[in-house]
Amino acid sequence: MSSPNLQNNEGSAGGPGHSSAAGAAAPTAGPDDSAAAREAAQHPDTSPLSIHDMTVAYQRRPVLWGVDFDAPQSGLVAIIGPNGAGKTTLIRAALDLVPRTAGEVRFFGQPYASQRHRVAYVPQRTSVDWDFPVSALDVVAMGLYRQIGWFRPVRRKHREQAADALSQVGMADFRHRQISQLSGGQQQRVFLARALAQNAELYLMDEPFAGVDAATERAIVEVLRTLRSRGRTVLAVHHDLQTVSEYFDHVVLLNMRLVAAGPTEEAFTAENLRRTYGGRLALLDRVGHAMGLGGE
């Protein structure tokens, strides 16, 4: 059960009834099967994010069933799956934004409340009102509010930090723009900069590439790679199957339950895609074929 390969993982995500401790430790490992990776798999306490047997239901309709997942120590992880697969819910339930029906979530081995400062969240761009009367810099500075603390105003020092985060995403020239005057891609980069300003170790991003222009996509990929090189972990909900292999070294395939998770070259197979996306076989075969993925 403890070998970090996909089929075991799929087996362990069987349902809410499953409760094996070994199963919780199993699902992922680093990109190689090195001793360190095995060590991490055996001690999920050190994982930036471990989700154990999580079930989430809205009203009486279940959205996620018995998800077991341990994020790798560092690297870029794509969460993929069809619409309604529970990708956004996975992130939001982990962050206590929607109540969990069952299961447990640990960040760096601790409850979220004590580890917030190590975790940054990038919500979907469409989740806020971009007509709000604030500038790009104001939004990025919001990533520092926790550090600033109650009642204290945003000072020059914080504005400089925020400006620095903006320049990391190539938006330094736009810092005084009101946010409705930014393009969708620029707005997405502002959100990313807000997360960067938090200087976290784990980043949870909900569709950072949704509806962005090519320049933004390049800028975001650049930032993700920088984060990886600094040993950070990024989990991103992703929709473009064509770029999964290029951008991400780990992948989580989700369709209400965890279909597979692991290093991209192992988990991102035509067979797993078929099991994730179900009916839309023809399309997937073509995508898989185009990417030269071996199925069976």
């Binding site: 009203q59 939001r92 962050l95 206590d96 934004l97 409340a113 917030r116 975790v119 969240y121 919500p123 989740s127 806020v128 009102d129 709000f132 009367p133 604030v134 500038s135 104001d138 939004v139 919001m142 509010y145 926790r146 600033i148 109650w150 009642f151 204290r152 105003p153 945003v154 009101q178 409705s180 807000r194």
Partner: protein, 478 residues
């Protein structure tokens, strides 16, 4: 900046009103101070309420307060006859009822699948109906005079006593100070509540504080403007302020100025014309300021937008004109050169030498042929270009580029063609369609984009030369 400009513009107005009033009546000044503070408090609190999307919550609260006022009156009278006239007692009741109405709304939302607007309408109706029914019951109450209670429905500014104003003023100040102290927190809550929650901010508590402030202001405004109109004090000033600024701090300032000014105007007008209810006049003053903001607001006012739009259209027209002049000249044989620059249907080789474009007059027929101009628009663009020193008339119906005009024309054509080439190479638009697509954007290309395009197509425009048109130009008449 806009907010500050606006506030300095409004101050003289308030001063003039004070001067025009010239009523030494102490009572008027007291009332004025009270309504002014109320107006500012409502405007500041209302800004967060509006941005948080809770405008309807204000309506629920204000309608619900009536029930609280009447209940508090009845309870107090039962304990001690006459104590039901204490404003503090009545406002406490109103505050509790407002909170209860929000509680009911939240309960409906959490336990059922009824949507928010419906849940609010239910609470509003239930509590307002309760208030009206209790009012008729209170009329039969053995002790005390119930007549004052109906004032809470329509407001009775003139009947405010010094003690009332002290209460209203201090509660208003409390609301203003709380908004100031919690500015950063309320801004975050209003913009992105989920993000605030992940950061560990107690969003539930902050929600409660904001709704508490709304209830407080609604309650404070009860006696001055009445339950039904108080919500207008919360909503109109911030809605008007949005036309003056797109920064929250300045928007709040503008909102406070508008709220304070409408309170002062309304109070003064109703003092001069006592038959008018002050609450209604305050709200109408706010509405007038809203209309002025809608028209003349520096950020989104309709007048500025129209001016801006017209300016842009004309600029684009003039750029089209200069490009047309350039392209007409480009297709003509150079003086001393034989035949057209390009053969029939032949795609020009790039790069090509730039034509000498000065001292080469073009006439109206050529321009008209180059582009489907509306004659009047062409005429206006011609006149404006002459005024700007871009073109100069040569004879009756012909014009040539000035030195400035030649420089501008070259820049415009170069940008246009770089953009066309970008569209063809990156966006897969066929060359035959590219002219029209390029037209829309080329006028708004920022310098850095031009820079990167020039680098990208350096081969076609060595040394910043103008590349040849990637498509056939309309034949110019000779």
């Amino acid at each position: 900046m806009n907010g500050f400009l606006f506030s300095s513009a409004m101050l003289p107005v308030a001063e003039t009103l004070f001067a025009a009033l010239q009523l030494p009546a102490y009572n008027t000044q007291v009332v004025l101070a009270g309504t002014f503070l109320l107006g500012v408090a409502a405007a500041v609190t209302g800004t967060f309420m509006l941005l948080r999307g809770q405008a309807l919550a204000g309506d629920v609260v204000s309608h619900a307060t009536l029930a609280g006022v009447v209940l508090a009156f009845m309870v107090a009278e039962m304990f001690q006859a006459g104590s039901g006239r204490s404003l503090a007692v009545l406002l406490t009741g109103a505050f509790l009822a407002g909170g209860a109405a929000i509680g009911l709304t939240t309960f409906i939302l959490r336990t059922t699948r009824i949507r928010q607007d419906a849940a609010m309408a239910i609470s509003l109706g239930v509590f307002y109906g309760l208030g009206i029914s209790l009012l008729t019951v209170a009329e039969d109450f053995p002790t005390g005079n119930v007549a004052g209670l109906s004032h809470f429905l329509e407001g009775m500014t003139a009947s405010l006593r010094l003690s009332d104003v002290q209460l209203i003023g201090s509660l208003s100040l409390l609301a203003i100070v709380l908004c100031g102290v919690l500015f950063k927190e309320l801004r975050l809550l209003s913009f992105d509540r989920d993000f605030a929650a992940t950061q560990g901010w107690p969003v539930g508590l902050l929600d409660l504080v904001l709704i508490g402030l709304i209830v407080l202001v609604a309650v404070v405004g009860l006696k001055a403007v009445g339950a039904v109109l108080v919500v207008a004090l919360l909503i109109i000033p911030p809605a008007a302020a949005r036309f003056w600024s797109d920064r929250l701090s300045r928007m709040i300032l503008a909102s406070a100025v508008i709220g304070g000014a409408s309170a002062v105007c309304g109070t003064v007008i109703s003092t001069m014309l006592p038959s008018l209810a002050a609450g209604a006049v305050i709200v109408l003053s706010g509405a007038v300021l809203f209309c002025l903001s809608l028209a003349f607001g520096t950020e989104r006012g309709l007048v500025w937008q129209a001016v801006h739009h017209r300016r842009t259209t004309r600029r684009v027209d003039r750029q089209h004109l200069l490009r047309a002049v350039y392209e007409i000249i480009e297709q003509q044989p150079e003086p001393g050169e034989q035949g057209s620059r390009y053969g029939e249907g032949e795609k020009p080789d790039r790069p090509h030498p730039e034509p000498d474009i000065r001292h080469r007059p073009v006439n109206r027929a050529q321009l008209q042929n180059c582009r489907r101009w509306v004659p009047a628009r062409l005429e206006r663009s011609l006149k404006q270009s002459i005024r700007e020193g871009m073109l100069e008339p040569v004879g009756a119906d012909a014009w040539q580029l000035t030195e400035d005009g030649a420089v501008s024309a070259q820049r415009i054509v170069r940008n246009h063609r770089l953009w066309e080439m970008y569209l063809i190479s990156q966006v897969d638009i066929p060359p035959s369609h590219v002219d029209r697509d390029a037209d829309d954007v080329e006028h708004f290309l920022p310098p850095d984009v031009i820079e990167s395009l020039s680098r990208q197509f350096a081969a076609s425009s060595p040394g910043g030369q103008i590349p040849a048109s990637p498509h056939l130009l309309p034949p110019a008449e000779q």
